[in-house]
C-alpha cells in the first residue's frame, strides 16, 4: 500500500546502488576473512592475540558492509535504516558484554569450553 514508485529501478535505495562499491565490499570481506583464516590456522599466536586479530578484522569487514554495501548514512532514504541499526547497538553490547562476563567466570570456575 505504501508505495509511490512502481518501477523498482527508480527506488531511491536502488538508485544509490553502485557496482564498484559492491565489488569493493565483497573484496574487502573476502580479504578480511582470508586473513582471519590465516591468523587462526597459520600463525601460532596466544588465544587472546588471535581473538584480538579476528575481532579487529571482523569489525573492518562489518564496517565495509555497512558503508559500501548498505550505504548507511543520514540521507532521507537511509536515515530509517541507520537509526534502526543504532537502536540495536545497546542490545548488541549488552548481549555480547554480558556473555563475555558470564563465560569469563565460567572459565575461572569450570572446564566447560576449555
Amino acid at each position: 500500500m505504501a508505495h509511490d514508485e512502481h518501477n523498482p529501478l527508480t527506488h531511491p535505495e536502488v538508485r544509490s546502488a553502485s557496482s564498484a562499491m559492491y565489488i569493493a565490499a565483497f573484496v574487502l570481506g573476502i580479504v578480511a576473512m582470508g586473513i582471519a583464516c590465516l591468523v587462526t590456522v597459520g600463525f601460532d599466536l596466544s588465544q587472546s592475540d588471535t581473538l584480538t586479530w579476528i575481532t579487529v578484522l571482523a569489525v573492518i569487514a562489518g564496517l565495509g558492509q555497512l558503508f559500501l554495501l548498505f550505504k548507511l548514512d543520514l540521507s532521507k532514504t537511509m536515515i530509517w535504516h541507520t537509526v534502526s541499526l543504532v537502536l540495536t547497538v545497546p542490545l548488541f553490547f549488552m548481549a555480547v558484554g554480558l556473555t563475555i562476563w558470564m563465560f569469563h567466570y565460567l572459565a575461572l570456575r569450570t572446564m566447560v569450553g576449555g
Binding site: 500500500m1 505504501a2 518501477n7 540495536t88 542490545l91 554480558l98 558470564m102 565460567l106 569450553g113
Partner: protein, 695 residues
Amino acid sequence: MFVDLQGPWNWFWGRLPLLLQLHYNNPVIGFAFVLAVGGGLVVVAALTYFKLWGWLWREWLTTVDHKKIGVMYIIVGLVMLFRGFFDALMIRTQQAAAVGPDSPGILGATHGYLTPYHMDQVFTAHGTIMILLAVTPMLVGFMNLIMPIQIGARDMAYPFLNAVGLWMTIVAVGLVMASLFIGDFSHAGWVGLTPLTQLAHSPSVGVDYWIWVIQISSIGTTVGAVNLIATILKMRAPGMTLMRMPIFTWTTLGTNIIGLTSFPVLTIALLLLTLDRYVGTHFFTADGGGNFMMYTNLFWIWGHPEVYFVVLPAFGFLSEIVPTFSEKPLFNHNAMIVATMAIAGVSWAVWLHHFFIMGQGPVVNTFFSIATMLVGIPTGVKVFNWAFTMIKGRVRLETPMLWALGSILLLIGGGATGMMLAIPAINYVSHNSVFVVAHFHNMFLIIAFALFGAVSFWWPKVFGFHLDEKLGKIFFWLFWSGSVFVFVPMYALGFLGMTRRLDYIAHPGWWPLLLLEVFGIGLYVASIFAFLLQIVVSIRDRKKNAVVTSDAWQTSRNLEWATHCPPPFYNFAATPVVHSIDEWAWRREHGLTSLKPDHYADIHMPKNTMVPIVLAFFTGVFGFAAVWRVWWLAGFALLGVIGTLIFRMFQKDIDYIVPASEVERIETAYLEKMDDRAHASIHQTGEHGSPATQH
C-alpha cells in the same frame, strides 16, 4: 562429504534411502497418519464436491487482505494447537502408564506404550509446535487482523510481505507434519540440548527437520515484524498520535521490536549448529574446541525475549477486553504504555536465569536474578491497572471477560513461581524439575486464555455474529478445570522432586498425582469438543446471533468497532479522523456513531497475487531437500526462490482503485442490511440486547 553420515547417502536421493530402513509398524504413527491424511482427504473432497476450489484460490490462497491473512494465521495456529495437544495427551498418558518396575509395556516399550526415543520426539515436537507454530501464528494472526483496523489503516504497510510471512509459517507447519511420517523429528527437546543435537549423537534427520522448521518459520516471523512495525509507525489515521494508540497496538509494537531484534540471534545459533551438523565445524561440540554452553547461551538470548514476544500481545488482548466489559476506560493508559515498553526492554537482560546452574558463580547469578525480578514491577503495574479498571466498573461476565479474568488469575500464579525460580538458591534445586514445566505452562496458559478471550471478543467483528454464550461458558469452565487438574499436581510433583522429560517414573508414590493429571487432560479433551460444538452451533444460529451495530458488545472502545461487522475489504468507507484515546467510546459519548461518511472517495487497494504461494512451494522443497541432503534439489529450489523474487520486483500491475461510486454502493448495501437486522432484532429478545448506558 565433510561429515560422517550414518546410513546411506547418494547424490541423487540424498539420505532418502534411510526411509527404506525405517519401520512403519507403530500403530500410534499409523493412527496419526490416518487422522492427518483422512482429515486432509475430507477437506479436499468437500472442496471438490461443493466446487469451492476457485473460490478458495481467489478469495483466500492468493489474498493480500490483512484480515483474511489474519484469519488464516489463526486457523493454522488452531490446527497446530490441536496437533500439539495430541502430543501432550501422549506425554500425560505415557507418564501415568509407566510408573514403577511392575508397570506393563506394549508396542515395544518396556513400560507404557512409548519407547524412550519416541517419547523424546513427542515432547520435542510438542514444545516446538506449541510455541512457534500454534501460539505464535495465532498471536500474529490477531495482530494482523485487528491492529490495522485499530489504527484506521486500509491494510498493512506491505500487504505482499504479509502474505509471504503467512506462507512461510505454512511451509514450516508442512515440514513438521511431514516429519511425522517421513523420517523422524528431533528428540533433543524444544531448546535443542547440546551436544545431543550434534550429528554424532543424533545421526538421523530429526534434528535437521527441527532446525529447518524453526529457520523457515522465523523468516515468517521476521518479515511479519518488519511489516507490523512499519504499519504502526507509518499508516496511522490522522489524529492517531502514538499516545492515543490502543494498548493492543502498543503491545503489537513492543512485541515486534522484540521479535525483530531477537530472532536473528536464534537464526545465527541454528546456522552455526547447522554448520556443525552439515560441514563438521566445532562451534557447539563438546570436544574439538567447541563450546556447547555457548549454544545454550545464544538460544536463551533469543528464548527469553521470545517468551515476552508471546505474552505481550496477550496483555494487549486483556487491555481491550477488561475495559469493554467493565464499561469503563482502561485505568492509566499511559502507565500501561510505559509498562509494555519496559517489559520489552528488560526482557533482553535476564536470559541467564535459564541456566543459573551452568557454573558461572554467585556474582553473575545475582545480577541476572535481580534483573529477572525487575520484570515483576511493570507486570505488577499491569495487573493493578486491570484491577483498578474493574473496580467501580459495571463488570459483565460474558465469555471474553471470563477468559480475561482467568488469564489474570493465572498471571498471579505464574508470576509468583517465576519469582521463586528467579532466586538462584531455589533454582539450583528446582531447575529441570517439573516445577519449571508447571511454571512456564502456567505462563503460556495466560496466553491461551487471553487468546480464547480474543477469539470470542473479536469473532462478532470478523464474522458478523456472536459465538454461542452458553457453550462458550461450558468451554471456559472445562478448560479452566483441566488447567487446574493438570498443573496443580504438576507443581506438587515438582516440589516432590520429579525431574522433567521422563519416559519412566521410578517412584510409585507419585502415581496418584500423575493420575490426577490424566483426569485433567481428559477435561481438556472435553473442552475441545465443547469448543467445536460452540462453533458449529454458532454458525447454525448465525441469523439469530447476528450483530446489529458495528459495536457488537455495545461498550467497546476502539476504532475497530467503528466499521461494519464484518469490515469491508477496504476497512473504512472514509479514513477516520481520531479525536481521543478510545476513539469509539469518545464518538459514542458525542453521538457520532453514524457509519455514513460525508462523501465517498476513491480507494487505492493492493491486488491479489500468487507469488507468495510460489515462494512457499520453492521454500518447502528447499527445506525438505536440505533435511535429506539432496543438494541438487536444494540448489534448484533456492534458484526458484530468487527467480520468483526477481519476477515479483518487476511486476507492475499490483494495485487498483475502487471508484467512489462502487464504495458508495457497497456501503449503502451494508447500511441497509444493518437496518433490516436492527428492525428484526427489536422483535426478539436477544441475550445481547440489554446494554447498560454506555460510557
